[in-house]
Structure formats: structure tokens, C-alpha cells
């Protein structure tokens, strides 16, 4: 019997396999249960679509942005609000992945590990989500974009609350156009360009080149550059739109002289430019309420001298993600270390218990405090000397514009990035207008002006 007993140990092998399998299932259930449950075919979710959970989505003022009525997903009653909030809220079909209706679909559906999809009352009640966004501000941004493609975002760099997040083209989520997939006008309509796209930064990249100059050129403020319309580097001509004559550094930034900044980039060298860009958040992804942002890219490891020059003025292969530029502005405004933007203020269960509350989270330092202080001075000078302080009356805005050539017979992409240094209006912004026939101040600048004035309460 002793040997029979010893041989019976073979059952431990079987039991071990069984417990392992059970562990695999339970581990999956704990980690992926929400994903498993929130499927389009799941009969416990009414309305036969991924995002038609039961929970509502509100903006910061309590305006209903999305809700479920009689098993059908409905959005704001105002068409402009529906379109302006499309990319933040998401659509019914789950095509807009950066929207909360997709990224928070298990919370909206009411899924939790304890009660699954169906509450003890027998109904499936989802959590409500309140956003930090101001739908009035978003509508204003969309209104000012006026049918042009682009993106606009504005956030409070002290609290991290995103107030405006708009991407165009958009469409009405309540009545999606039939030709959404085929009409070229809707190309990119599923993308939230602030979060998921990258664009040539143009002169907004001079903020990064400036930071490198501040840190690597000790005599920066006593230096001058002869800007006579063009400079030849490595046999390649780099041009400005006008001849500015002799420029000090801060005037070179205000005039946005390519001649000066390409030479600065070459002088600093590829290695230090690359290090500065990497430190300032290029080639890295940020997390925005669970969505990973597209990476800005800057790579000059194998660039020739003229290419390095172009990279210093935001052309070459440079790409910038608007969200990243916004964080960078927040960092410069905030002494070098950004408070990361977020847009989900709270997720509240049907019984009124908040299951998630958005709070200010500090990101990695993107720039040293000293460099940030000097950048603020230069960027403030840009506004007062070049763009006109009347754009942002009383707001003490520091900013930088950009006009990025994209080629292909299109007009340039116009940018403006910046922030207010007032303690009472701690807002940073990024505005991008694609294919703009106007200058960057006239296009992006006007939109930024409107947004900052409304956010800052300027009449």
C-alpha cells in the first residue's frame, strides 16, 4: 500500500495543471474582465453598440454631452456642441478611440468586477463621467476654426484640467454622415489630432532651439546675427521671408529668423540639439487619461549640416504632437516641470460613489527652471514686440508662432503655442490651422486670442 500511496502523487500533477488553468482564467477575468464584458455582441448592454453604455457624460458645467435614453445613445441637443465635443466624448460606434466613450467604455457600461454588468437591482447602470472640458470654449474653438482642419487645446497648467480640446474635421455623432468613410472632406475625422497626430512644427520648434542656445551659448544675449534674407549652409540655401539686418537673439526669435536659428543649430551641433529635444519630450509618448499620445519626433543623428540647420527651424524631419507642445508650454510656464493635462474630472458610480477622480499629476521635468525663466522672457517679448499684446489684453501671454511648410501644393500649417503668466489665468494653449492661406498670427493667433480671452474672462 505504501507504493500505491506514493504513486498516487501523480494526481498532484493533474491538480497542479488544473489550478494553473483556473489561475489563467481568473487572472484574465481580473485584468481583462471589463474588456471581455464590453463587447458589441453582449446582450446585457442595451443598444447593440460598443459605447452605448448607460452612463452619461457631462462637461465641467454639468452640460449633458452624451446620455442613454430608451436604449439609444443621445448627445447634446445643440449641433455645434455635438460636433465640437466629438473627439473628446467619442462616437456611438467606437471608431474614435481617444474619446471617453471608447477609453472609459467599461466604466460607462457599469462594469465592475463585483457585480459584473448588472447591478443588484437587475438593471445595468453605468457610471457617469464628468469632464474638465468647457463645452462653450470648445464650441468657440470650433467656431473660430471655421471649417478649416486643425486642432486646438487649452489647459490650466497649475491644476492640469483640460478646458478645450477640439479637432477638425468633425461630424455629428447623432447622425453620422453616410459618406463618412468615402468623402475626402472627412479624412481624419476619427482622429483627435491633439492627441493622436503629429505635424511639422515649423518655427514653434525655435523654442527648443532657443533652450539649447540658452544652455550652450553663454554669451547669447551679446551675440548678433546678420540676417540678410538667406544663408548658405553646406551648399544649401536657407531663407527668410524678409531681410531683417543685424538681429540680437531675442529679436531673431521674435522675427523668427531662419537664417539666425539654422546657424545656431549648426553651432550647437547635432548631439546637443538631439539631447535638448529628447529632454523636452520629443521621441516620447505621454499618457492622457489612459490614451497614449503620438510621439513627437526629432532625429538628427545622421543629418548633414544643412539638414541640421533646417531641423533647428522646425523643418527637416521634425514632427510635433500638439498635446506634447501643450505640455511643453505648461512646463515652461510652470518653472520647467509640467502638471500633466487630464480631462476626466470624475467617474461616479450609479449609487453616487466616485470611482475615479482626476487630480493634478506632475510630469517629468522638461526644461530647467533657469532656462524656463529666460524662455518666458523671450516669448513674452515675441508677443509685445512682434504679435501685438492687444491679442491677449492684460493676460501677459508668452507665445511663439510657427508656419510650417508641408509641400505637396498645400498652404503651410500655422501654429501658435503659448501661455499666460498671470496667477489668475494659468492657461497654456496650442492652436494649429492646417493648409492656411493666412499668416500664423492671423489664423492660429486669432483663435488663440479668442480662446485665451474667453478662458481668462476678458471682455
Amino acid at each position: 500500500m505504501k507504493t500505491t500511496g506514493a504513486r498516487s502523487m501523480i494526481l498532484f500533477l493533474l491538480a497542479a495543471g488544473f489550478f494553473f488553468g483556473l489561475g489563467v482564467f481568473l487572472y484574465g477575468l481580473v485584468t481583462d474582465g471589463g474588456k471581455w464584458a464590453v463587447q458589441p455582441f453582449n446582450g446585457h448592454i442595451k443598444g447593440n453598440s460598443v459605447s452605448s453604455g448607460e452612463g452619461s457624460v457631462y462637461d465641467r458645467n454639468g452640460t449633458v454631452l452624451a446620455a442613454t435614453k430608451d436604449g439609444k445613445r443621445v448627445y447634446s441637443s445643440d449641433l455645434d456642441t455635438r460636433c465640437a465635443m466629438l473627439h473628446a466624448v467619442g462616437d456611438t460606434e467606437g471608431n474614435i478611440c481617444a474619446g471617453v466613450q471608447y477609453s472609459y467604455r467599461s466604466a460607462l457600461s457599469g462594469y465592475n468586477f463585483i457585480t459584473g454588468l448588472v447591478a443588484p437591482t437587475g438593471k445595468s447602470n453605468g457610471c457617469d463621467i464628468r469632464l474638465t472640458l468647457d463645452s462653450d470654449l470648445c464650441r468657440l474653438a470650433r467656431d473660430k476654426l471655421d471649417g478649416r482642419n486643425g486642432a486646438a487645446a487649452l489647459y490650466n497648467y497649475k491644476t492640469g484640467q483640460m478646458l478645450c480640446l477640439v479637432s477638425t474635421p468633425d461630424y455629428d455623432p447623432e447622425n453620422p454622415p453616410k459618406d463618412l468613410a468615402t468623402n475626402p472632406d472627412y479624412s481624419g475625422a476619427y482622429l483627435n489630432k491633439v492627441v493622436s497626430s503629429t505635424f511639422t512644427p515649423g518655427s514653434t520648434f525655435k523654442v527648443i532651439t532657443s533652450a539649447a542656445a540658452i544652455e550652450n551659448m553663454p554669451d547669447l544675449d551679446s551675440r548678433t546675427w546678420e540676417c540678410n534674407g538667406s544663408v548658405v549652409i553646406n551648399g544649401n540655401k536657407i531663407t527668410d521671408i524678409a531681410s531683417y539686418g543685424t538681429l540680437s537673439f531675442k529679436n531673431a526669435l521674435a522675427k523668427s529668423s531662419n537664417v539666425a536659428f539654422s546657424q545656431i543649430a549648426v553651432e550647437i551641433g547635432a548631439q546637443k540639439m538631439q539631447a535638448e529635444a529628447d529632454k523636452m519630450g520629443f521621441n516620447r509618448s505621454f499618457s492622457f487619461d489612459g490614451t497614449d499620445t503620438a510621439k513627437s519626433s526629432y532625429s538628427v543623428a545622421s543629418a548633414a549640416k544643412d539638414e541640421l540647420g533646417w531641423s533647428g527651424v522646425g523643418q527637416y524631419t521634425d514632427l510635433a504632437n500638439p498635446f506634447h507642445m501643450l505640455v511643453l508650454m505648461g512646463a515652461i510656464a510652470n518653472g520647467g516641470t509640467p502638471v500633466m493635462p487630464y480631462m476626466v474630472q470624475s467617474v461616479v458610480s450609479p449609487v453616487g460613489i466616485p470611482v475615479q477622480v482626476g487630480t493634478a499629476k506632475t510630469g517629468d521635468s522638461l526644461v530647467s527652471a533657469d532656462t524656463a525663466a529666460r524662455l518666458r522672457d523671450y516669448m513674452r517679448y515675441d508677443v509685445t514686440y512682434e504679435y501685438g499684446d492687444s491679442l491677449f489684453p492684460g493676460l501677459n501671454v508668452c507665445a511663439k508662432t510657427g508656419t510650417a511648410e508641408v509641400g505637396g501644393g498645400k498652404h503651410p500649417n500655422c501654429w501658435m503655442v503659448g501661455f499666460s503668466t498671470n496667477d489668475s489665468t494659468p492657461y497654456a494653449f496650442v492652436v494649429l490651422v492646417e493648409n492656411s492661406s493666412q499668416g500664423s498670427v492671423a489664423s492660429a493667433g486669432r483663435i488663440a486670442s479668442a480662446l485665451m480671452k474667453q478662458a481668462g474672462g476678458v471682455k
Partner: protein, 561 residues
């Protein structure tokens, strides 16, 4: 008008909340009852005190006899080791049978003598008798005669059968209320199958505890709990099939009692083994001749109004044929007969294209052959053959290969080959810890939901807690079978219990892991829970082997005589 409407809404809410509370209560009751059963079974195990003593007549050394069957020989693996070069390695077996102690010679070279008379086969020995083997002379003595303390009384803490049957009945009453309220209003018709089950349980309890004088009721309690969960699930889907399931329980109980009686006499079992093997082969042959293809497998036979799955019953035969008493194990060392029988069984299952059941038989074969021979080589060889066989299946049966292809990729196939698995996962998660309520699930509308996907249905409608408790019960049944392997009254029971426990667990594993995409999908049933009369009967049959292995099972009867 408005008031009336509000009241109606309130009462629907109230019913839902009541049902939720009942689900939580049932989950807790299941956990408590199962824990009570298993702790009681652990406490009920006899301590390792000697039953008898052998005195070496030359050295006067006392050798404890610890088991109901004891191998005696020169080999160190024997239960009684003889330091005697003239004795054979496995010389004899000293065993307790219903009518006293026996010693059997197991083909020793020099023979075994009791009272000076050489043994032909086996002979009874009484305390005071002299047994001689080689140059060793042993006297069998009672432990009390050598001044050893009397065997300790059974430990306290064993669960009383009465409290266990009560726990089961209360659980099932709560389940019946849930089934009755599943449509929102109280209906009695769906509650009837569970009512029937409770009546059966009471009758069975009175029969075995009061009339037969059995002292333990833990295994039956566990099986009743599982059967109740399965029956509640079926009642909420289809009352008619729930009655079939109930009939399965009744017949299963009959089979259970019959098997326990049949296994009671080991000589009878050994005598019938060959006949049972032949019968099993004939059943398979008949199956192959009569069966019509159903969902890809030809494993069903229709006999008048009944549809049976013969392979379920052959499983029981397979274990009886495979197991053996210790003296037989020592005399017939080779496995040829059993290997041949296993090969025929698995071959028949391949012809029926029931590969899931073939896997179960294969694992049964591995357990039995290892426990009989201890030969790792045989196991390795069998596994090699199995790998080769599965290679052939994958090559020539494309639909099996397809199941392997979607395995761990079911989310890419939500509309085709991963349809069932993704529904099981999605709806299992939807249920949460306590389920959405009996009859209120969505998985029931998916093909084979009540049989192959039964685990998913339990998860969705009754909750993860009950589902996990149910499968843990099956896992601990197998471990219980292992735990009593040295304490049972014979190697025959030990091997059978380990094989039965292993088969139940492996089958449960194939069912739940196939449905949840941990393993490739196979169409086997979840013991005691899935819909199917044959499956239910076979589950009770398997339980009989575990029951027979509990030494208390045949103690009660002796007391009675």
C-alpha cells in the same frame, strides 16, 4: 395610476434585490458546506496507528501492520520489509478481508507457510498464527496483546450527516425560489425539478444513514450540491430537460448504490473484470453500429425514448477493469491486458470522432497504469504514442486543427470559430461575483450552452463565486481520492478512487478550460452540472469509487451484522 406604476417599478426592484441576496446566500452556503465536508473528511481519516502487529520470532522485534493490505518481502518498497536474503523481493501479501486476515503468496521462490502448511493461493490467519517466509518466522498479534495503546477514538469535528443534508436542502430551497422568480413573477412549474431532487435526497439520506447505518455523508453532500446547481441552471432554461436531468440523478443514485455494493466484495470484482471488459468492448461495437452522427461525433445511441452516450458508462467499466488488489498486482506485473483493452476503447472513440472523451480515457489510462506499475517508461511510451496520434488527427481532421488555430486567438474570431468561447468569456465577466440571476443570462441562447458551456452559464447566471466553488469541489474530490490512497481497505479501491477523481477533474478541466480559451475547445460535459442523463449517471458512478475508498464505507455494514 402614477402611484400604481411606481409601486410596480419598486416591486420589480425589490424582487431583483431579493434575488441578488439569495444568490449571495447560496454562494456562501455552498462555500461553507463544501468546506465543512472537506474538513470533516480530513478529520474522519484514520490516524496512522498500527492495526495489527507481526512479531519476528527470532529477534522478538515487533513490526507494525499499518494498512489493510500489506506487501511483505525483501524489497525496501514493501510495507513489511524482511531482512532476509532467502525471501523473495515481493514475497506475500497480508490483507484484511471482511471475514478476517489472510495471507497470500505472490509467486515467491521459496513459498509461504502458515502454521507449517505451504500456501497454494491464500489462507486465513488468526492472531497467534505463525507465518514463515524464507528463513523468517512471524507471528500475527493483536495490538492490544503487545501492550500497545488501544486505537485512538475517532477525532471529533466530523460533520453530522443530518447537518449536511440540512445545508443542502436549505441551499436548494433558495435555488428553487430563484428559479421560481426568474421570470419576475412566482411560478411553480420551474421549481418542480428541484423539489424532486430534494425529495430524492431525503429518501436517499434516510435509506443510507438510517436504514443502512452509514456514518459518513460528505461525498453525497458535495455531489448533491453540484447536482442542485446544475439542475437549477437547467430548470431556468428548460423545465422539460431539467426533468431528464433529474431522472439522471435518480438513476445515478441507483448506479451509485449498486457500485458500492458491487465493489464491497473484492473477489467478486476481480472475478467479473474480464466479463466487464468484454461487455465494454461490445457496448462500443454496438455504439459504432447503431449511432447516428450528431454534431460531428457518433457518440449517441437512441434506445426507444432514451438517448444515451455509451462512452460515459464505459468509463466506469474502464476503471473496474483497470484496478486491482495488491496480491494480484504482485503476481501479474505486466499491463498487457489493460493496455490492449485501453487501446480498443480509445480506438473506438477515435472512430466515433469523440476526441474529448478519448483524451479523458487516455488520462485514465495514464493514472491507472502508473499506479499499477510505477513505470515511468510505460507512461513516456504512452505519451509518445499519444503525441503521434494527435499529430495524425490534426493532419487528417481539419476541424480539430481549426480549433487549435483559434486557440488563444478567439477575439479575432468572434463571429466564427471563436463564437462560443468569446460569448463564454464575455458573459462570465458580465455576471460578476454573484451572477445576473437564474434565467436572466444571455449565454443560454448560444449553441451547447447547457452542456459544453455550462461553466460559462454558471458564471453568468449564478456568479464566479459559485462557479469557482463548484470546480474546486471537483478538484478537492480528486485530491481526497489521493489522500485516502494508503488508508483504503485495498489497493483496488485506492487505484479506482485515484482514477475516478482524476477523470472527474480532467473532464472538468477540459470543459471549463475549453470554453474559456485556456485550452482548445473540446465538447465534453462538466460533471454533475452539464445537461445530460448519461453524464450525470457516470458522474455518480465515479463518485462511487471515491466512496468505496473511504474505509468507513464498509465499516457501517459490518457493524450492522
Amino acid at each position: 395610476m402614477t402611484l400604481a406604476f411606481d409601486f410596480a417599478a419598486l416591486s420589480t426592484d425589490a424582487v431583483s434585490i431579493l434575488l441578488f441576496v439569495l444568490r449571495v446566500a447560496v454562494a456562501l452556503l455552498c462555500i461553507v458546506t463544501a468546506t465543512r465536508c472537506f474538513t470533516s473528511m480530513r478529520l474522519g481519516k484514520r490516524r496512522k496507528d498500527p492495526i495489527m502487529v507481526l512479531e519476528d520470532m527470532t529477534t522478538h522485534q515487533l513490526i507494525p501492520v499499518l494498512y489493510w493490505e500489506n506487501s511483505i518481502g525483501r524489497s525496501r518498497s514493501c510495507d513489511v520489509v524482511l531482512r532476509d536474503q532467502t525471501a523473495s523481493r515481493a514475497h506475500a501479501v497480508l490483507m484484511r478481508r471482511e471475514n478476517g486476515w489472510f495471507v497470500a503468496d505472490t509467486n515467491s521462490k521459496s513459498g509461504t507457510f502458515v502454521g507449517g502448511r505451504k500456501l497454494k493461493d491464500r489462507a486465513p490467519v488468526f492472531p497467534g498464527d505463525i507465518i514463515s517466509m524464507g528463513s523468517t518466522v512471524l507471528m500475527l498479534k493483536r495490538t492490544a496483546d503487545v501492550g500497545a495503546p488501544p486505537p485512538a477514538p475517532p477525532r471529533r469535528g466530523a460533520a453530522s450527516p443530518f447537518s449536511l443534508i440540512w445545508a443542502v436542502l436549505v441551499t436548494q430551497i433558495l435555488l428553487a425560489v430563484q428559479v421560481g422568480l426568474s421570470s419576475g413573477k412566482l411560478e411553480t412549474a420551474p421549481m418542480l425539478p428541484l423539489g424532486g431532487l430534494m425529495a430524492c435526497e431525503l429518501i436517499f439520506y434516510v435509506y443510507s444513514i438510517r436504514l443502512m447505518g452509514h456514518v459518513s455523508f460528505e461525498l453525497e453532500t458535495l455531489a448533491f450540491l453540484l447536482s442542485g446547481v446544475g439542475l437549477a441552471l437547467q430548470s431556468a432554461v428548460n423545465v422539460k430537460s431539467a426533468f431528464t436531468q433529474l431522472a439522471g440523478v435518480v438513476l445515478g443514485l441507483a448506479l451509485y448504490r449498486f457500485l458500492i455494493w458491487f465493489l464491497g466484495d473484492m473477489d467478486r470484482v476481480m472475478k467479473w473484470r474480464v466479463k466487464i471488459a468484454v461487455l465494454a468492448v461490445l457496448v462500443f461495437a454496438a455504439n459504432l453500429l447503431l449511432a447516428k452522427s450528431r454534431n460531428g461525433a457518433r457518440n449517441w445511441v437512441t434506445l426507444g425514448p432514451l438517448t444515451v452516450q455509451p462512452s460515459e458508462f464505459v468509463k466506469i467499466a474502464f476503471i473496474i477493469v483497470g484496478t486491482s488488489t495488491l496480491d494480484r498486482l504482485q503476481t501479474t506485473k505486466n499491463l498487457t491486458g489493460f493496455i490492449g483493452f485501453s487501446a480498443v476503447c480509445m480506438g473506438a472513440l477515435f472512430l466515433m470522432r469523440d476526441f474529448g472523451t478519448a483524451c479523458i480515457f487516455f488520462v485514465g489510462f495514464l493514472i491507472i497504469s502508473f499506479m499499477r506499475s510505477g513505470s515511468v517508461r510505460t507512461i513516456a511510451l504512452a505519451c509518445a504514442v499519444a503525441v503521434f496520434g494527435s499529430f495524425l488527427i490534426l493532419k487528417f481532421k481539419p476541424y480539430v486543427a481549426q480549433r487549435f488555430e483559434v486557440w488563444r486567438h478567439v477575439w479575432e474570431h468572434t463571429g466564427d470559430a471563436g463564437y462560443q468561447q468569446t460569448r463564454v468569456l464575455s458573459y462570465s465577466a458580465s455576471g460578476g461575483l454573484f451572477g445576473v440571476g437564474l434565467g436572466r443570462g444571455c449565454l443560454k441562447d448560444v449553441f451547447a450552452s447547457t452542456s459544453d458551456l455550462a461553466f460559462g452559464m454558471v458564471c453568468e447566471e449564478m456568479g464566479i463565486v459559485i462557479a469557482v466553488t463548484a470546480v474546486l469541489i471537483l478538484a478537492f474530490l480528486a485530491l481526497y481520492g489521493r489522500g485516502v490512497a494508503t488508508r483504503s481497505r485495498s489497493a483496488l479501491y485506492s487505484i479506482a478512487a485515484c482514477a475516478a477523481g482524476g477523470l472527474l477533474l480532467f473532464q472538468a478541466g477540459l470543459n471549463i478550460f475549453g470554453a474559456t480559451d485556456v485550452l482548445p475547445m473540446t465538447g465534453v460535459t462538466l460533471p454533475f452540472i452539464s445537461l445530460g442523463g448519461s453524464s450525470m449517471m457516470a458522474s455518480w458512478g465515479m463518485l462511487a469509487f471515491l466512496k468505496a475508498s473511504d474505509e468507513r464505507t464498509y465499516a457501517g455494514r459490518r457493524k450492522k451484522e
